[in-house]
């Protein structure tokens, strides 16, 4: 029996493959390469509709100076009442808080850079736009990394580059005065909880090793009370939940998200429930943000490559299905 089987298998001639069957992979790969490359060389401006999710985040960051002024006015009102009541302990607390608030009058934005080089093409344009928007409005920026130490150097380079841009709108920003990058600490949940009590207890130094006590920006920031908005740019699923639990639920901060396109769909429920101020979904979200900011960058530029790549993917799905139905029809006829 075995001999018979061996004989049969040795005489088995596989069906002859057509040229397409042999080479379809190479053709698809070349087509994909050309689709992406084609988009890169096109300089034609792209018009994009800005979604409400993107607009929500943009407006929230834009309103940071107003939020700070509102907080200052509220604290001053509380201080007046405390002075009327002659509550010395509260007066002291409120005066310290007010002094800190007045040190950064345009407010403070915390950006969490949780992405690595693999997800940077989608998330880096978001980071650049956010930093440009913050610096343009005189908002102080605190940066950190919560998930992976690998992201720290990338984040540091992005902040440095944008801070050193100069334009008619803003002058180069100084490390320690206009921005600070805290770097990475393990166990994000505990670190963010600690930051809610005191940032200095979670981070003693910045990424460069400078003592946080000596940095002018940190004289006006003790904990989340002096931070208006938190924006998380994450290539990792699970990190937004930590920020929503800690930043939003426990400390009542406005949290915005920037996610890769594949994981963005998971976070739409949080927009409806208003747990997040807005959501930037992948490269499209980054491009929309750049459009809204009127500072076009690699987000909008990358959209053309994405446009051709998506068109190719749809075309391939259609061709594959036509082929599938033809072969099914032929089998039925046989």
């Amino acid at each position: 029996m075995n001999d018979k089987q061996n004989k049969e298998s040795s005489t088995f001639i596989p069906p002859k493959k057509s040229w397409w069957e042999k080479n379809y992979r190479a053709v698809i790969y070349i087509a994909a390469f050309l689709a992406v490359l084609g988009g890169m060389f096109s300089n034609k401006p792209m018009h994009l509709n800005v979604s409400s999710a993107t607009k929500g985040l943009f407006d929230s960051v834009e309103a940071i100076p107003k939020k700070r002024q509102k907080t200052i006015a509220e604290v001053e009102e509380k201080l007046k009442k405390a002075e009327e009541k002659k509550d010395d302990k509260k007066i002291r607390e409120l005066k310290t808080y007010l002094t800190r608030l007045k040190l950064n009058t345009n407010g403070v934005l915390l950006i969490c850079f949780d992405f690595d080089p693999s997800t940077a093409p989608e998330l880096k344009p978001m980071a650049i736009s956010l930093l440009r928007q913050a610096f343009k409005n005189g908002i102080k920026v605190i940066g950190n990394v919560g998930y992976n130490v690998i992201s720290a150097q990338l984040a540091q380079n992005i902040i440095e580059n944008i801070a050193h841009e100069s334009s008619d709108k803003f002058q180069p920003k100084k490390a320690g005065k206009d921005y600070v990058f805290l770097g990475f600490r393990p166990n994000a949940f505990m670190v963010y909880m600690q930051m809610g009590e005191s940032i200095l207890s979670a981070y003693e130094t910045d990424y460069a090793g400078n003592d946080l006590n000596t940095l002018p920006i940190m004289k006006g920031v003790h904990d989340y009370a002096e931070i208006e908005d938190v924006v998380l740019l994450s290539g990792y699923v699970g990190m937004p939940e930590i920020w929503m639990n800690v930043g939003k639920t426990k400390f009542g901060k406005d949290v915005g998200l920037g996610m890769t396109a594949v994981s963005a769909a998971d976070y739409y429920p949080y927009i409806q429930s208003k747990q997040i101020t807005g959501l930037l979904a992948g490269l499209r979200g980054a491009a929309e943000y750049e459009t809204e900011l009127k500072s076009l960058g690699s987000g909008v530029k990358g959209m053309r490559s994405q446009l051709y790549a998506h068109s190719l993917a749809i075309l391939l799905i259609v061709i594959g299905n036509i082929e599938f139905f033809i072969s099914k029809f032929r089998k039925k006829r046989k």
Binding site: A32, P117, E160, P186, M193, S295, H310, S311, I317
Partner: protein, 272 residues
């Protein structure tokens, strides 16, 4: 003792952290949190040490026994030593100066001079600014001191990591042709939703010649597919996801209670 002590520690830690989250009492809310936070960071550092020890042990054995691919192991260990050394040793004065270059970013927002020096050790780029007068105009000069660590990260790690991930695009294209087939009506439904989201994610009307035909006009001022995409994401997707989130949260809560009370002991390696 060996089977009773870990569940006891787990119980104490669980209850303390639970109390910490809800308690407004300073010794628990602040002091305890700081202590626990610092402890977890110490544990994190030990995890890093264990990781390095494991890496050295595994690759060291491969090299010692000359197992297939031992050369790659040697390169791995060499990279660990070199990158860690240049990053850990503080920046020194070994500097190579490169000429001043003018950098203008692609959208013309920036126009500044960059003066770069390369240092061997350290991991932090130092930057400072001075102003220079060019043709009667004040232009900032960015004086950068870039260490080798930064160079390794930017020009070796970043491109390699991005390249590996970008290969996914080619596999996805191939899979779109081979695997995304309407084999049942459920698969058909999934395919229709996927195509709508794919079409809605990009401005199809801007494809030359055929774009306007594919885009199928507009609804409420936005392109048809973009509108349909937002309907899919805002309603069926959100409803399903919300159900999943609530399910996961309840499951997580039940598992946490089981772990705190020692009913489930995953930290015992399936024993106890």
């Amino acid at each position: 003792m060996r089977s009773k002590l870990p569940p006891f520690i787990c119980f104490i830690c669980g209850i303390v952290l639970l109390l910490q989250f809800f308690s407004p009492w300073d010794p628990i809310e602040k002091d305890m949190l700081e202590w626990v936070g610092n402890s977890t960071q110490v544990v994190g550092v030990f995890a890093l040490a264990i990781g390095i020890a494991s890496l050295v042990h595994m690759h060291g054995n491969k090299i010692k026994r000359k197992m297939p691919g031992w050369g790659f192991s040697l390169i791995t260990l060499l990279c660990v030593v070199v990158v860690a050394t240049i990053g850990l040793i503080p920046a020194n004065n070994i500097k190579v100066k490169s000429p001043i270059v003018a950098k203008t970013d692609i959208f013309g927002e920036t126009n500044l001079f960059v003066e770069t020096t390369h240092t061997l050790f350290g991991f932090q780029t130092d930057s400072s600014f001075t102003n220079t007068i060019v043709a009667g105009k004040k232009i900032p000069v960015n004086k950068k001191s870039v260490p080798m660590f930064d160079w390794f990260y930017n020009y070796i790690f970043v491109p390699l990591s991005a390249t590996t991930f970008s290969l996914l695009a080619f596999y996805i294209m191939s899979a779109a042709y081979r695997a995304v087939r309407v084999k049942s009506w459920e698969a058909g439904l999934l395919l229709v939703a996927a195509i709508i989201v794919l079409l809605g994610q990009v401005p199809m009307e801007q494809i030359p010649f055929v774009g306007k035909f594919i885009a199928c006009g507009t609804i409420k001022g936005i392109s048809t597919f973009e509108y349909l995409k937002s309907i899919i994401l805002d309603f069926p997707n959100t409803a399903a996801k919300r159900g999943i989130i609530i399910g996961i949260a309840l499951g997580g809560l039940a598992t946490s209670i089981k772990i705190i009370f020692g009913i489930e002991r995953p930290y015992m390696g399936g024993q106890g």
